[in-house]
Symmetry: C2
Subunit: 498 residues, 2 copies
């Protein structure tokens, strides 16, 4: 039961301070974490009427408001409902100079059992835990509070609110429901709290019978936990030793690709338009089915990604998809978790988004050019798999295309681009520099293909020495995969969105 | 009638080209406008079933998809409905390297008469025209198409769509309604087209009886209009001569402020908390009324804006407001119209947003430091007034506070900050540099106060040599203004949102 979580009074040191003084200390700490590029995420959850607003008010009171952000998660908006449920929490994560306070933790989704099945709740919990772990790994300080009040106190507070002229806003069915079935909820909360209690970010159960006492305790714990976080993160940043790797390549997938495959112009012309029409129809079907489609294109420089995308989308209604060309992150993107900018652009149900280069940059260019530490890109394989699984579990389609050309073909295309005035803009010194690292990229490609080729979000490796052959292959794989998905969905019957 | 708008066949030059060739020409033009930082906005409107999708497909087909964005404006989302209706178009304006294509122009809102009154339609039209003019002034190329089909053609197309298995998606009540009252709609369209036909961006009425012919015409016009736009904008950029000014200061408002006003510590302590409580209650009332509150704080450096904001918000539920500290725009913000980043952060109905420095930067720091040309800041006064009026016409409250200190007081505060270790971070070399331009800022302040002090969005000029006096004044003005607004609303009765 909840008692088992009783907070060990680490905060004793602050007994002699006033709440406002603790707030001032927090203000200085905020400047320190901001200087150190450490994001802070504070989750405030608890019973209905347990005083979350009061506590959050005290937390923010002395902070420089430009660096603190309170996010309220009420009923999802209609746009949010068209994404995986964890998506809206991703959108609001703190940047590297922010403290974000979530009114209700994201675990609220599982605290509130609703009508969902156990399997669904388990999946949700895992998704949320994965999010929290990714943030922790990204040097975020996460502090979690659960405000605990007794059945009697809750009842008393509800009675008091009933007398307010704003009772219709202040009280919801949920307040009554919780109070009526207090013990049942208590058992469930206890279960969720245990399941989501992480070593680096344990739950702090706050006795909230007296709001002022509770608030002071929250402030004191926040101070301690931020200090502890600063210590941990600065230490870890200093320990830059390489991570031991236990990866071994099972097969050199790239060498297995038969690059001599080609198609005649005649066959190409004969097949192309029909395939394009079919692709467009399938996208329209997905739109009708409310199924989102996410495509990622990777490959060697000049492998023909842009051309393949153009052929694929030829007959697709341009109002139903967006293409994102991925370049180096801008300053705001750099100030967030590396996956944040992709989450921002994931399609809502029924839409399609094509990424020309993608989140795989983390294990490709960022790995090869040392923009990410070994530790960072090493864990990225799992993070990426998890992120894609959230999408496919939600019912979205995720397909990844890898276009392969050989070193000679690349050279010819580079020279071609340099010589043709209209393609000139496509080739830069950087392309030639990258080419100098062909082998390092080659290894990174192979490892990526092996470690992120999942059943739910497969890689399609395409021989692209012959551009036209590659375009046809992309279309064929696209059609086949979407068709298979649709027929599987048809068998399952209508998807239920909860 | 619509005929009066018949497009003069400028596009004759392109008769011998194929649609795909025109698309390729557009592709190159896209790179030119992108290199020149010229945003392009293409609005495609017209009758139901007139083939907008087909035309947009042709427009985008050959373009580099990373620089083109198609935006569909269907029914507003629930978040969009909680903002002025022009807000969602602001969110999606093209950045300086983009072509944005709006499926339905923003004038769709007035094309579709709905149940709105003439007064409302007039106001909407004006708001949309103002948006378009602001974009044009910001060197955007705007091209507007209206696809015209006859009553008979529309009927034929509807009949054909009825046979499709996806008819429920492809046909709406509106198709039938338009066709049934074709002439009535035609007259209304004609009226709106005339009212929104600008010299720099006239409507192009396209005969869309044959979709392929229409599409080619749209492509040809787009090519011509982009070229014409490039010519106009590059010429205007070269003509950097100063704009003739006809401003004269009516009164030196700043000199009229009695800076010796002060409050005793005793009185301050006695009044402060009550005023803070009252402010919090009023904000809550606005939340209940679905009224948004927008506050802007400006003033000399070290005038005490931050402190005043902190005192004002002391008892306000931190979940109901956000504070934005405005710094120099980041790269993405720089790539958009200067008002875009503020529009992005305007509150939805019932919320409050406080800007610590604001859009007035355009006529203050950007003017004094020459970050904006004279022409740009000169027209900004009107643009800002218009932007604020959109908000207040929507029912939001806009208040602007200007905190005044004198030169000596500023010097003392700067030195104070330098000497106190905890305030050290608040003072930089830039502050001292700005101080060197005291007179230039003084003039800019005065002009701003005179030209943007509107009845709907007034300035409150606060004597701030005594910090505590200033905080109390801000609270008092805030309370008085909000109270007046609420009592006026109460008299009017419930606001109708359309």
């Amino acid at each position: 039961m909840l008692e088992s979580f009783d907070f060990k009074q680490e905060a004793g040191n602050y007994d002699s301070f006033k709440r406002s003084e603790l707030g001032e200390k927090l203000d200085r700490l905020q400047r320190i974490v901001s200087n150190l590029d450490i994001p802070v995420l504070i989750l405030v959850d608890g019973w209905e009427s347990s005083g979350k607003g009061f506590v959050i008010n005290d937390l923010t009171r002395e902070l420089d408001p430009r660096f603190v952000r309170v996010e309220v998660f009420e009923e999802a908006t209609d746009v949010e409902k068209k994404h995986p449920s964890v998506w809206r929490f991703w959108q609001k994560i703190p940047s590297h100079n922010e403290i974000a306070i979530y009114d209700r933790s994201f675990y609220y989704q599982v605290f509130n059992k609703d009508k969902r099945t156990n399997k669904m709740l388990k999946q949700r919990t895992q998704e949320l835990l994965n999010l929290e772990k990714m943030l922790l790994d990204d040097d975020t300080i996460v502090i979690k509070f659960f405000l605990n009040i007794s059945e009697a106190t809750q009842e008393k507070r509800i009675k008091k609110l009933e007398k307010s002229e704003n009772r219709s806003y202040l009280l919801s069915d949920e307040d009554y429901e919780q109070n009526k079935h207090y013990e049942e909820h208590q058992m469930w909360f206890d279960k969720v709290l245990k399941a989501t209690d992480l070593q680096e970010s344990p739950w702090h159960i706050i006795n909230a019978e007296d709001r002022k006492v509770a608030s002071k305790e929250v402030l004191a714990i926040t101070l301690d936990k931020i200090n502890a976080g600063i210590e941990r993160i600065t230490r870890e940043r200093k320990e830059t030793q390489a991570v031991k790797r236990d990866f071994s390549l099972e097969k050199d997938q790239l060498s297995l690709v038969n690059l001599s495959q080609s198609i005649s112009d005649k066959d190409y012309d004969k097949q192309l338009e029909n395939l394009q029409q079919e692709a467009a129809e399938l996208v329209y079907k997905c739109y009708l089915n409310n199924t989102a489609i996410i495509l990622a294109f990777e490959g060697m420089d000049a492998a023909g990604k842009g051309g393949a995308i153009k052929r694929l989308t030829r007959y697709i209604d341009p109002r139903s998809y967006k293409i994102h060309g991925i370049k180096a992150p801008n300053t705001i993107e750099k100030d967030h978790h590396y996956l944040w900018r992709f989450e921002q652009n994931f399609p809502k149900d029924g839409d399609m988004v094509i990424f020309d280069r993608s989140w795989y940059g983390r294990v490709l260019v960022e790995r090869v050019e040392n923009f990410a530490t070994q530790k960072e890109w090493e864990r990225a394989y799992d993070e990426i798999n998890q992120m894609e699984k959230v999408q496919t579990d939600h019912g979205s389609i995720v397909m990844k295309f890898f276009l392969v050309i050989d070193k000679n073909e690349q050279k010819e295309r580079f020279e071609d681009r340099e010589n043709e005035i209209d393609k000139n803009y496509k080739i830069t010194d950087e392309d030639w520099r990258n080419r100098g690292k062909w082998d390092a990229y080659y290894d990174a490609f192979n490892e990526m293909l092996q470690r992120t080729n999942t059943e739910n979000a497969p890689w399609f490796v395409i021989a692209a020495n012959d551009k036209k052959f590659a375009r046809i292959q992309v279309l064929k794989h696209f059609i086949e995969h979407i068709k298979a998905h649709i027929s599987k969905e048809d068998k399952k019957g209508a998807r239920v969105n909860v």
